[in-house]
């Protein structure tokens, strides 16, 4: 068992899947010879060759479109889009095809496609490199949206994503790529898509977070009797785990990096307001990014929730 950061954990997950299943292929811009702009696919081109680790021309829509064709034919393609902001050019392929192939063919065709892409801020890059628009993709039935919050879960969830017959948008929190290290063992890791986990148990308030905000939420929760739920799969999401927790704690704080309005925090708040309102001892609080275009590096941090902000919200609902 080796300590590794999320980049290494994802690389290991890809390597193991490539080894165990000849149907797995990777494709994307610079994933091959270069090893990926984040060095995430390093060594895989050398190990598995250009037929399985495919450097593509610059066309996000064709990367996903071609991968859909491969998936329909029976392969398990893992497509990399360099940043979530560049999937916007491929949304038609994701929404009109990947998500619908099974439905359209009445279950005959599947689309076991994974689209991996970093999301959120943290690398101080130009615009469209820090998008956190996961909610847009959670309104598309047929598509799964998976977001890991630590190296161990990155490996486990990516392997599960590659093995599910449904198409998965796999969002990797750029901010965490090299921030955390964890023991990540070789081999299969037990995790189930569609299930949230209690990342930290507690009794007085439920904090729901995912991906880039999980680590901050855990830090913020430290001073309180707060339960932190790592949502992991955003679509379809695990309402039951959240509801059960809120029914116990009576308080809900939802945290995301994305803009407040229309963010996925709204869905969680709405679900609780529909199905667990009789347990609520305080108003629901969302701690989110602002309703703005993610700013360039010099102002980027203004837009990203801090652990202090999250702790403030926790204290507020507890004091209510």
């Amino acid at each position: 068992m080796a300590e590794m950061n999320m980049v290494q954990a994802i690389n290991l997950a890809l390597r193991e899947e490539l080894e165990r299943d000849p149907d797995v292929v990777l494709l994307g811009e610079d994933v091959g010879r270069d090893g990926g702009v984040f060095r995430l696919t390093e060594g895989l081109y050398e190990a598995f060759g250009e037929e399985r680790v495919i450097d593509t021309p610059l066309s996000e829509s064709a990367i996903i479109g071609v991968a859909i064709g491969m998936a329909a034919y029976g392969l398990k393609p893992v497509a990399e889009i360099q940043f979530l902001g560049f999937t916007y050019g491929a949304i038609e392929q994701l929404f009109s095809h990947a998500a619908r192939l099974r439905s359209r063919s009445r279950g005959q065709l599947h689309c076991p496609l994974v689209v991996r892409t970093p999301y959120g801020g943290g690398v101080k890059a130009p615009e469209l490199h820090e998008e956190s628009s996961e909610a847009m993709f959670c309104h598309m039935p047929g598509l799964k949206v998976v977001v890991p919050g630590s190296p161990w879960y990155a490996k486990a969830l990516l392997q599960a994503s590659i093995r599910t017959p449904d198409p998965v948008l796999f969002l990797e929190p750029t901010r965490l790529y090299r921030l955390l290290r964890e023991d990540v063992p070789a081999g299969d890791l037990p995790v189930e898509l569609g299930k949230a986990r209690i990342a930290r148990p507690g009794d007085s308030v439920t904090v729901v977070a995912w991906g880039s905000m999980l680590e901050k939420s855990l830090r913020a929760a430290a001073g309180f009797d707060a339960e932190v739920i790592d949502l992991m799969t955003l679509n379809p999401f695990d309402a039951e785990t959240i509801l059960a927790s809120v029914r116990r704690t009576g308080r809900l704080v939802v945290v995301h990096e994305a803009a407040q309005t229309g963010g996925f925090g709204a869905e969680i708040a709405a679900t609780v307001a529909e199905d667990a309102i009789l347990s609520l001892k305080a108003p629901i609080r969302r701690v989110t990014g602002c309703d703005v275009i993610p700013p360039l590096p010099l102002l980027e941090d203004y837009n990203v929730p801090t652990a202090k902000q999250i702790a403030g919200a926790i204290a507020e609902v507890l004091a209510f």
């Binding site: 829509s61 071609v66 491969m70 095809h97 005959q108």
Partner: protein, 360 residues
């Protein structure tokens, strides 16, 4: 220090069978008499199906329907060159290909009647579901071709789309990928001169659609799309090239949409009836029938007999479609993800409680 030519390209057009039913013997494809008759029969079946569909639609027994009238040769000729193991990626106006490949006729009616069960493809056929978003299926055909090559399957994929489809970004991105990876795929443009009300000349300033292949470093050819023999021959060559490692090709079938865009359209609003009349003279069935008659392979009696047989077949298909029990509410949930979510189950329960007999 110069201005010099560094590359030159040409675009060719293939014609074999002319309007009078005469063929160019040198270019004549390697087809037996039964093949030639079969091509005609499939075109007639396509035409009669199409007419029946228009009929049913007018009677309110079918939804909005896109006629293929005039495009029978472009579709039957190209599809006839496909092998069973090749994969076919349709747009939405490829009735002639479905018919040629043996897709159940009842299911075609079913689909156009607004029932997705019509897209459930029989196991032995490799037919992708109809694609409504114009041009967006092009990369799928490229990906499937790449997957087939990766697996070592000696097949090709055939991707159909219209003149309008050539303007979408997916056309460009897909063909470029195909060129780079030398994927075994054949792109078949059904250039029927119209994309709803937008004429070919308003769709692109390129003189031909075939020349768009030059942008991707792949072979492109224009064929007389109302000449079933030319279409067959060009497709066959392209498929063989693809299957034998020669990479992708683009075929422009120069044909015509004789009918309205769909039953919801009125082409008289935007196009000159004289243009339609001009193309009437180039009818793809007529010239093939003349050719067969000259060869002694066809006569009026056979024509009448076949028409009657087809009609009976269509009667049976329509009857089968209309006897299909209605789909269940559950069907709208069952194929979304591999498993139904708890929330979907609750939604289905609510539907059952509230709506069992209430579609309003």
């Amino acid at each position: 220090m110069s201005k010099k030519i560094i590359a030159s390209f040409t675009v060719s057009r293939l014609e074999i069978l002319d309007e009078q039913g005469r063929v160019d013997a040198e270019l004549m494809p390697d087809l037996t008499d039964p093949d030639l008759v079969r091509l005609y029969e499939l075109m007639l079946l396509t035409r009669q199906f199409d007419q029946r569909a228009l009929h049913l639609q007018r009677e309110g027994r079918l939804g909005t329907y896109p006629s293929v009238l005039g495009q029978e040769a472009s579709q039957v000729g190209s599809a006839y060159a496909l092998q069973k193991s090749d994969w076919f990626f349709p747009a939405f106006r490829e009735l002639g290909v479905f018919v040629t490949l043996g897709y159940p006729l009842a299911e075609i009616y079913q689909y156009w009647n607004g029932d997705e069960r019509g897209l459930l493809c029989p196991e032995q056929l490799n037919i992708f579901p109809i694609c409504i978003a114009v041009g967006t299926h092009i990369p799928h055909a490229v990906g499937a071709a790449m997957a087939a090559r990766y697996r070592g399957d000696p097949i090709a994929t055939a991707c159909y789309f219209g003149d309008g489809g050539t303007s979408k970004g997916d056309f460009h991105e897909g063909l470029n990928m195909a060129g780079v990876f030398q994927a075994p795929v054949v792109f078949i443009i059904q250039n029927n001169q119209w994309a709803i009300s937008i004429s070919r000349n308003h769709q692109t300033a390129a003189e031909t659609l075939a020349q768009k292949a030059i942008a991707y470093g792949i072979p492109g050819i224009q064929v007389d799309g109302n000449d079933v023999l030319a279409v067959y021959q060009a497709t066959r060559e392209a498929l063989q090239r693809a299957r034998s490692g020669g990479g992708p090709s683009l075929i422009e079938c120069d044909t015509y949409r004789m009918a309205d865009h769909t039953t919801a359209d009125d082409a008289a609003r935007y196009r000159d009836p004289e243009e339609v009349q001009r193309w009437q003279r180039r009818d793809p069935l007529l010239r093939m029938r003349r050719f067969l008659a000259d060869r002694g392979l066809w006569d009026d009696a056979r024509q009448q007999q076949l028409e009657t047989e087809i009609d009976a077949r269509l009667d049976r298909a329509v009857a089968r479609e209309e006897a299909t029990p209605p789909a269940r509410a559950r069907d709208i949930f069952a194929y979304t993800w591999t498993e139904m979510t708890p929330r979907q189950k609750r939604q289905l329960q609510q539907l059952r409680d509230l709506r069992e007999l209430d579609h309003g």
